[in-house]
Every structure is written in structure tokens, then in C-alpha cells.
Amino acid sequence: MKPRSASPELLPPQLLDRLGGLEIIARTVVHGFVAGLHRAPYRGSGREFAGHRAYQQGDELRHIDWRLFGRSDRFFVREFREDANLQAYLLVDATASMDFGDAGGITKLRYAQILAAALAHLMLAAGDAVGLASFDEHVRMHAPPRSRRGHLHDLLLELERLRAHGNAGAGQAVEQVSAMLRRRGRLILITDLLEEDDGAALIEALGRLRARGDEVIVVRPLTQAEQGLARAGPRRFFDPERPDREVPAAPESDPGFARRVAIYYDAMGRKLRERGVEYVPLSTGQPIEHALREWLAARTAAA
């Protein structure tokens, strides 16, 4: 893919969100993401040639092997092993804690929706079968993996309908989705990793999934305020998933707050990597296209 002569200026997420529906946003993200690349981000592994068969009425003309027609004067269509190969699941955390955003910014859930839409767009364009699920204490929404035309539209509709509520249950959700992945697949979990048990059940479930050969990626969006990087005066703070527990505090005068948050997520990242899970920490203030490029660069370097 040829690089464009001038990269479009990347929009901050809160401005990106104003472009319109997820379809437009996802297309914009992908366009911006791909614009600066020298080659395709990754190759889908779902369109492996499996052989020819005779043309039947209703087959798509684009699958006709015209070279073979030229040699044989008969119509044959190519068959691919996509459905027999990789399935990808986008698993989106839709718990109450995801409905939080920095002042003037977008919420983590919205960031996850846009990111998931862009990833679905990319993976479907590469020929992968992409499914979608969301969870709070349980899996609430599930769209099975498909690669057909029009599936992206269905996924975007489901993503738009996501609403944040309830408490975390990522471990259980991963277990449920794992059971749906019938063969080698890819799980991209978009979550803030704020679990009741500090993520122990989740890490175990992800580890098992990785152990059976699936590719597991955890993308963690987090706001500036949650990282202790934004000015916050004295308040009575509460976790949206545990609103009855108030913590009267003054983050501005608590230098250890940012450090404790960083330590928690560093530990989470280390545990995930130990189990072969790819961990991608993102900030919701960061343009999504930029985040995807950094991620791709990190994957490329690791490869």
C-alpha cells in the first residue's frame, strides 16, 4: 500500500466522536491509521485457498477463476478456507467503570466502541471472521464471528447499542467467549482491568485461552483522571461499581495516587505478558489512530 503524500491530521477522540455514527468514525480511524503505513497492517489469515469447484448459479462472479476458464473454457470458482481458519472476537467491557471520562473527553466505553469498530473494520477487510461480545457480570451481547459483507454494519450497530452498567466479571466473560471459539482464534479484550479480585480470575482465564493456542490481546483504555494525571480537587470519590463506598480525598495533594495506579497496571501487564497475553495500555486522551500505530509498531518490533 502506497503511503499518502500527506497524512491527515489525527483528531483527538472527543472531536472524532462528533463526526457521526460509528461507521463514519471507524472509517476515519482506519483511513488515518492506514494512511501513514507502508504496507497493510496485517494480513488476515482467513482467506487461505482451499481449491476449485464447478461454478453454480448464485456464486459470486468475483470468485470465478478466469485463468482456469481461459485454459478450460469452463467456469470454476475458488474456494477459501476462511471459515475453517481464524475467528476473532472483540470482547468489550461494558461495566459501570467504563462509563467514565476525563472532563471534556470521551468515556472509556466510547473509546472502546471506536477502537472495536476500527479493529473490526481492519480485520474484516483482511478477511477475518469477526465476532463481538460485551459483558458486565455476564456476557450481555454476543454476535458470532462472520466475514460476509454487511457483517461490519451489524457489528457497528451492536457496538452503538452498548451501555455501561453493572459490576465487572471479565474472567467469567472470557470463559464464556472461549467456549465459543471453536478453533484457533484471536480474542481482543478491551477493558479497564478494574476487577474486584485485582483481575486474578481474568488473568487465569486469559492464560488458559493462550495456552490452547489462541491469540489474546488486552487493550486497556484509561483516563488521565484515573491515572492521577489530571487536577482534581477535594471530593468524596466513589467507584461507580461500588457507589456506597466513598473515599473523601484530595488527589492533588496525594502524590502516591498516580504511583499506586501505575504499580497496579504494571503488575497487571507483567502477569499478562508472563502468560503470553499481549497487553496494550492506552490513554483515552490519545488519538486512536496514533494508538493503533504504536501498537502495530510494538507488534512489528516484537515479531
Binding site: F100, P234, R235, R236, D239, P243, A249, A250
Partner: protein, 461 residues
């Protein structure tokens, strides 16, 4: 400049305006709740988090509330914007009424002499109308013209003359005057004009240049008794009685008429008064309280029945406009009704006892406002007649009795020393200027609306 009819409201407003400030300083509000998913990593800091947190809107609300109270108080203080007037001017009131006929040339000469001493002085020539003249003391022709014009065929009206003092200073913008009154002084039952004089110049702010009265004075009814006045407000009552021909004596033991005003009459005093009544004296009790034997013969019983409302009308037609502290109660059976209020309630009663008479007035006759009221001397005259009843049909006391100024009243009016300045605002009657009360009350209402909006908005944030 701003003048206030009820300045006490300003002090009340200033005190009330401190209330929002105090509430602002002591008000506590719990800090806001804020969601933060990573709250578990915060160190609880109750002391810092639960401190007072003020928002800029609090200052705005404080200002609005304080302004509201201050402007409300200002509105109730009856403010008037009066064009600023300063300075003192010489004014000469020259009486040209019928009673000055015999002494008119002398009066004009007196005025000329005063103008010569104060060249900027203005001469107000009055009878029932007032003409303001700027006269040059050396202008013989003008003075001759004035002298030859003679007097009016009507009695002069002091009230109009005094009221004209304010307008006479319009161009100079003076707010006070040194006033000389050239007249053949007479008092007709405290006319409305003399009320103005007494309120502003009692005693001694007006220089009185007396000339002989050229009117046949109404014959004074022969005073049947000598009188003594006891208690508060005696100077007003004394002057009034003197003006109606009642001889004031200093020996209460020999006075035939005793007026006891606003005094606590002890048992001993009451017994003494009772003896005097039995011996033929007339005792008038107005205000105060009575103890002992005298209270048993008092023709009045206090009760919850409402008191008389002004004006009080006497059985001889005299009418007293301003009365104060009218006592609730009812006359006892057998008491003679002397006066009643506008609501029909008894105001004055009398009863005979022995050879004398006890008169009870259910109110105060010593207060300054009453003593300066129209009909005061007429009221005293009727009360003094006691149980003798009214004299004929009776008349109101203003304007029909022409009595020469008596020594007592003259002394009270002139007072000791030289005349001082008289504030002209006192002669304006209803104050001039622009009333601002309603405007300020409307402004206070507008501020209240704005405060309510901001307060509601703040609660929603």
C-alpha cells in the same frame, strides 16, 4: 440630596445586611461526590476533603442578598430626592392684615430698617396671600408705594405666610432663614399657621416685632377660676390656658382648676385632690394613673373596650384633631359625657363630687403633638368648664377668636436670646422632592428575582 422620612429603617437595614455575611461565613456544605473508578487507590484525607469549598457563585449570592436587604431598607426609609439647598437668608414677614391698620406705617418702617441691616433680605407681605418683594432700603419710591397701599380688608393668615418662606428662597437655594415677623400678634386657638411656627421655632427662633393690634378683641369670658397645671407638658398647657384667659396661679392649694397631666397620683395626692373637689374645685385628670380614694370616684373604668379614635369632638363643638394614647375603657354609670371619638367611644367624662367636679380625659394632653394640634385651647377651654357644661353652641378654636398675644405665649414663642436660623424644610408641609421609595422597592424585588434564579442554578450544579 437624599432625605429620609423614616431613617430608623436605615439602621435596621444595616443590621439586617450583616445576616447574609454571617451566614456566608459559617455555612457549611458537604463536598461534592465524584465518580472515579480508581478511587480504591486514593488515600483517604477527610480533613482536606471535607473542608469548606466555596464557589464564585457564593460571592455573587452574598452580594445579591446583601444588596436586597439594603435596598429594601432604603425603600422603607421613605427616601426623597430633594434638590440640594444650602445657606441662610434673611426673611421679613410683614403682616398686612386688617388688624395692622393702625400701625401699618410703623410696620413698613420696621421692615425698611431690617432691610437696611440685611440688604439681601426679602420681604414677604401677607394677608391671605403672600407677595415676595426685593426691596432696596434706599428706594424711597418703593417704600412709599408700599406704605400708601395700606392694609387688606381681611385678617391675615400666618399659616400661608410661613409656608411661603420655603418658596421665597427658591432662587437662592437657601435651606434656612432668619425670620422676622412684623405683626400685631394674636393667637386664635392655635391656628394651623402657628402650629408651623411652634414646631420649627419653639422656642425663640423667630424674631417678633410687635405692633399694637387694631382689631376689637373678642371679649374674654371672665375666668371663673385660677388654674394650676401639674405634671408633664405644663408649658404648652400653661400657654394655651393663658391664651384663653385662664389665670394661672402658682399656688395649687388655692387654684380653683387643677389640671393633672401624665402623673402618677398617689394615695396621698389623691386624697388631697378629693378634698379639693369636695370643696368646690374642678380637677382635670388626663394621662397617668390614679390610686387610692380618688380612683373610687373616678367616672371611668378601664376595660378591653377600644379607645376613642381621633378626632375627638366635644359637646360644645370643639374638636381636637390629634390625640395620643387614648385609653380603652368605658364611663361609669352616671358620668356625664363631655367628648367622644370618631368611633363613638367616650373620650372625656365628668362627675360631680361634693361641691366640685372631677373631669377625666381618656388620653394624654401633655404630648407635644397634641399641644400643637388644632383645637387644643378649645379642648382645654371646654374641659375647664368641667361639670358646668358647654357654653352655648361653641365654636372651633381656629380663626374666630381674636386674642392678643399674651405674655406667656409670647415668651414661649420668642424664647431667650437672638433668633436663630429656622430650617425651611419645616415650613414645606408635605416635603417636596421626588419620592424614591417605590422605585427602590421595585429594585429590591428585581434583585430578589435574580437571587432566586442564581440560587436555584447553584443548587442544580
Amino acid at each position: 440630596m437624599l432625605e429620609f422620612g423614616r431613617p430608623a429603617f436605615l439602621f435596621a437595614g444595616a443590621a439586617l445586611a450583616l445576616v447574609p455575611l454571617l451566614l456566608h461565613l459559617i455555612a457549611r456544605r458537604p463536598p461534592e461526590r465524584s465518580p472515579l473508578p480508581t478511587a480504591r487507590f486514593l488515600t483517604p484525607d477527610t480533613r482536606t476533603a471535607l473542608r469548606i469549598e466555596r464557589r464564585p457563585t457564593d460571592i455573587l449570592l452574598l452580594v445579591l442578598r446583601t444588596l436586597f436587604l439594603l435596598i429594601l431598607a432604603l425603600g422603607f426609609a421613605a427616601p426623597r430626592w430633594v434638590a440640594a439647598r444650602t445657606g441662610t437668608i434673611e426673611l421679613i414677614l410683614l403682616d398686612r392684615g386688617r388688624g395692622m391698620a393702625g400701625s401699618w406705617p410703623e410696620a413698613v418702617d420696621s421692615a425698611r430698617a431690617l432691610v437696611a441691616a440685611a440688604p439681601d433680605a426679602r420681604v414677604l407681605v401677607f394677608d391671605t396671600t403672600v407677595s415676595t418683594l426685593r426691596m432696596d432700603a434706599d428706594d424711597d419710591a418703593a417704600w412709599n408705594t408700599l406704605r400708601s397701599g395700606g392694609v387688606a380688608g381681611v385678617e391675615s393668615d400666618y399659616a400661608d405666610a410661613f409656608r411661603a418662606l420655603a418658596s421665597a428662597t427658591d432662587r437662592t437655594r437657601a435651606d434656612s432663614a432668619r425670620v422676622s415677623l412684623i405683626t400685631a400678634p394674636r393667637w386664635g386657638a392655635w391656628s394651623e399657621g402657628t402650629s408651623l411656627v411652634r414646631e420649627s421655632a419653639w422656642p425663640g427662633a423667630i424674631r417678633l416685632i410687635e405692633l399694637p393690634l387694631d382689631l376689637p378683641a373678642s371679649p374674654l369670658p371672665a375666668s371663673p377660676f385660677t388654674a394650676s397645671v401639674l405634671g408633664a407638658g405644663t408649658e404648652y398647657a400653661s400657654a394655651a390656658l393663658d391664651a384663653i384667659g385662664v389665670v394661672l396661679g402658682s399656688d395649687t392649694a388655692t387654684s380653683d382648676l387643677l389640671l393633672v397631666f401624665d402623673t402618677l397620683i398617689s394615695e396621698a395626692d389623691g386624697a388631697s385632690l378629693l378634698e379639693r373637689i369636695r370643696g368646690g374645685a374642678t380637677v382635670i385628670i388626663a394621662g397617668g394613673s390614679v390610686q387610692g380614694a380618688l380612683s373610687e370616684v373616678l367616672p371611668w373604668r378601664s376595660s378591653d373596650a377600644p379607645g376613642a379614635l381621633p378626632p375627638v369632638t366635644f359637646d360644645d363643638g370643639a374638636q381636637l384633631d390629634d390625640v395620643v394614647s387614648m385609653r380603652p375603657g368605658t364611663p361609669l354609670a352616671g358620668a356625664a359625657l363631655i367628648a367622644a371619638g370618631a368611633n363613638g367611644r367616650a373620650a372625656a367624662v365628668s362627675t360631680t363630687h361634693g361641691q366640685g367636679c372631677l373631669v377625666f380625659f381618656a388620653g394624654s394632653l401633655a404630648a407635644r403633638d397634641v399641644a400643637l394640634a388644632r383645637g387644643y385651647t378649645a379642648a382645654l377651654r371646654r374641659l375647664a368648664r368641667g361639670c358646668a357644661g358647654p357654653a352655648g353652641t361653641g365654636t372651633r378654636g381656629s380663626g374666630t377668636d381674636v386674642l392678643p398675644l399674651d405674655a406667656a405665649a409670647r415668651d414661649v414663642l420668642s424664647g431667650p436670646g437672638l433668633p436663630r436660623e429656622v430650617a425651611l424644610a419645616a415650613f414645606e408641609g408635605e416635603r417636596s422632592g421626588r419620592a424614591l421609595g417605590r422605585v427602590l422597592l421595585a429594585l429590591a424585588l428585581a434583585i430578589a428575582v435574580v437571587e432566586t434564579w442564581f440560587s436555584h442554578r447553584r443548587r442544580r450544579l
